[in-house]
């Protein structure tokens, strides 16, 4: 009897959860009329786009998701077919890419610099397929691999400049994911920009200790942010996937969030991806992941894509509701700095 009840209970729970969850990937919903399946990608008129995530999901509110949205949008625009695979095991990179190459996909987007080696290997084995490596710097040029890279330090610099001008306590901080190159670029850029704007500012920089969940530990991120706030920081940069998101959410809860205390997001405009952070989210240090992916996939479609590196854009996101809080002269100065970074007249001076 108890077994029956337990089973019934579990089934009901499963039904309820299934009704409002996404245990499946949304490929069905996102396809467009033109190419309905990938049964004949080899044909010239069918354009098939594939995406392989790094360990993690396309719903990570961070770079996997941005690349996914970019590729999906590009496929829709050109009337192609799009599908993705979420990697669960680093040993599966090659196999996952193989799923796409076996079906003669035209373009494969691989997300995350941990996949760099696997991407190049797969590209060399499949010279007719184009590979787009997001965050994968190509030290050597391989004809069918394009590394989509971003000047993260520039985005960080812009955000830091804003923070340096806006801080009233002269103390700002950053709560970061693992200490890897892209994150370091963001963090060092942030510090450089802040100091350039305000010589008296003190910047606290804390990385998540090396662990499997370095980019998915919101509890640690929140606790760290709370600590930095308690010690006087009034603007904090949260850069590290789920970890950083935890920090943003915690700061949004703080007294004075939005008036005296602010937070800055990363990678994409987190105003939309982490709505809980809106009370404090003055801006985000963004890399044009979505636009860059879309652009490159379209280039692959029209044949203009080239090997080597493609530098995407980086900057800071809109102030949204804080446009009235940030003084006009500050906005102008920051805009000037961002423009200067873009055209090269200002250098961040950040090296790794």
């Amino acid at each position: 009897m108890k077994r029956m009840r337990t089973l019934a209970g579990i089934s009901i729970l499963a039904l309820v959860l299934a009704a409002c969850s996404s245990g499946t990937t949304d490929t069905a919903a996102e396809e467009t009329a033109a190419a309905l399946d990938d049964s004949n990608c080899a044909a010239a008129e069918n354009f098939c786009v594939g995406l392989v995530t790094d360990i993690g999901k396309v719903d990570d509110k961070s770079f996997n998701q941005s690349a996914h949205e970019g590729a999906m949008a590009a496929a829709a625009e050109v009337g192609g077919f799009y599908k993705y695979i979420e990697t669960t095991d680093t040993k599966d990179y090659a196999a996952n890419m193989g799923q796409f190459t076996d079906k003669s996909y035209d373009v494969i987007v691989t997300v995350g610099f941990l996949m760099a080696e696997a991407t190049v290997t797969a590209a060399k084995a499949n010279p007719n397929t184009k590979f787009i490596g997001v965050d994968q710097f190509q030290a050597e040029e391989v004809a069918n691999v394009t590394g989509l890279i971003f000047p993260e330090d520039q985005a960080g610099y812009g955000a830091g400049y804003l923070a340096g001008l806006m801080t009233k306590t002269n103390k700002i901080g950053s709560v970061l994911g693992l200490e890897i190159a892209p994150v370091q670029l963001f963090a060092k850029g942030f510090e450089a920009g802040a100091k350039a704007a305000n010589a008296n500012v003190a910047v606290t920089t804390v990385y998540h200790p090396p662990a499997d969940n370095g980019f998915g530990d919101p509890v640690w991120g929140a606790a760290e942010a709370k600590k930095q706030l308690a010690q006087g920081a009034d603007i904090i940069f949260g850069a590290g996937g789920g970890t950083g998101n935890g920090a943003l959410i915690e700061i949004a809860k703080a007294e004075g969030a939005g008036t005296a205390i602010f937070c800055i997001g990363v990678d994409t405009d987190q105003w939309f991806t982490v709505p809980e952070a809106q009370p404090c989210l003055i801006t985000s240090a963004v890399k044009g992941l979505t636009e860059g992916t879309t652009a490159l996939v379209k280039k692959a479609f029209d044949g203009s894509i080239a090997g080597g590196n493609f530098v995407g854009s980086a900057g800071i996101a809109d102030y949204h509701d804080f446009a009235s809080v940030v003084p006009m002269d500050v906005q102008d100065k920051v805009a000037g700095v961002v423009a200067g970074l873009k055209d090269g007249s200002i250098k961040t001076g950040v090296t790794l």
Binding site: A18, G23, T24, T90, A95
Partner: protein, 363 residues
């Protein structure tokens, strides 16, 4: 404590080995049915989903290689837990032993130079086995001489291993010029090659499996092992040195787990990365229980688990079902295969005793 001991002597031998083969089979079947319901609730035909998994894992040459690659450490993890169970120990620490061994063999593969290929591979494997054995040996010694229950000590040792290795691989042994947490690649001479679709490691695992089976069933040492596992008091009465058995059992168990980690490193990843294969230890438990602590049966059990894991990517590719469904399937299998209620239900009337694998914390 002793009162209850004589009334319910260690039942592991009895349960796991006298359980009918019907139980694991029914367990797997029911798990697939329940999993199928979950898949159906996502709007996908379960048969299509299962076909996707199996066709990728078995009928695609890359997939077949991957299946073998995933099965190999699973066989060894299953053997590790099996050997432990036979002597009455529950080794939950296979994970920690495995990753310690993986790092050790990676380091041997990187830093030992000037060895011809075969020798280099053997030495590296050996390093891995030794480290895995020693890591488990800590738990064995603590149990034999201080009465610390191996379940709790191996759980602690798992976490300790993860912490130490995380540190080692981000500082002293980190690949230079890379901010990634991992070691350099091992030397070419230390690589375990594949023969067609069959990794050499898999053949090695099969041989070890046969050896273990032979040892347990045909040698005096194996006889002692089994006796200790069936009834501690009879064993002591027969003059078997319990402390030695416990330590040896853990060493052997850890060595097997270590071999799994070493083969994974030398034959598949070619370096040490912390994030590799986090569920291996627990999969080993599932396999050992499915195999009813019979070493030879760990092979088909490991093939099943390896297939599910290898086919998971294709599952998502073809049907959109997320790969975590495999974890759910295996968890349900583990639940059913270890709940005597299933046996009682199937064999109403036949006395099936309790599934008492462990007997508390303090011995």
């Amino acid at each position: 404590m002793t009162l209850t001991e004589t009334k319910t002597p260690n039942k592991i031998g009895f349960l796991v080995r006298n359980q009918s083969i019907v139980v694991p089979i029914v367990a797997i079947f029911v798990a697939f049915v329940l999993g199928g319901i979950l898949i159906f609730l996502q709007g996908v035909n379960p048969l299509v989903a299962y076909r996707a998994i199996f066709s990728e894992a078995w009928f695609d040459s890359d997939g077949l290689l991957r299946t073998f690659q995933k099965t190999t450490p699973l066989v060894l993890a299953g053997l590790a837990v099996t050997v432990g169970l036979r002597v009455g120990l529950f080794n939950i620490g296979a994970q920690g032993q495995l990753i310690s061994a993986a790092l050790a063999s990676a380091l041997a593969g990187i830093y030992i130079t000037n060895l011809p290929p075969i020798l280099h591979v053997l030495v590296s494997l050996f390093c891995g086995v030794i480290v895995g054995a020693l890591w488990a040996g800590i738990a064995g010694v603590l149990k034999a001489y201080r009465g610390v229950h191996e379940v709790i000590s191996t759980i602690m040792l798992n976490s300790i291993a993860i912490g130490i290795l995380d540190y080692l691989v981000s500082n002293p042994f980190q690949e230079p010029d890379q901010s990634l947490q991992r070691t350099k690649k091992i030397a070419e001479t230390a690589v375990l090659p594949n023969i067609g679709v069959i990794p050499f490691g898999f053949i090695l695992a099969l041989i070890i499996c046969l050896l273990v089976s032979w040892m347990l069933n045909k040698t005096t040492a194996g006889f002692r092992f089994n006796t200790v596992g069936k009834n501690k008091f009879a064993a002591t009465y027969a003059g078997i040195n319990m402390k030695l058995m416990v330590v040896t059992g853990m060493l052997l168990s850890g060595g097997l787990a270590g071999l799994g980690g070493a083969i994974e490193t030398l034959g598949i990843t070619y370096r040490f990365e912390p994030a590799f294969n986090a569920g291996l230890g627990f999969d080993g438990i599932t396999i050992a229980l499915l195999a009813r602590a019979n070493p030879l049966a760990t092979i088909p059990a490991a093939i099943l688990v390896g297939t599910l894991r290898a086919g998971g990517a294709s599952l998502q590719f073809e049907t959109g079902i997320e790969p975590e469904i495999v974890d759910v399937l295996l968890a349900i299998t583990l639940l059913l295969v270890s709940a005597p209620i299933l046996a009682k239900y199937l064999f109403r009337g036949k006395a099936q005793k309790s599934a008492n694998v462990t007997s508390g914390w303090g011995n």
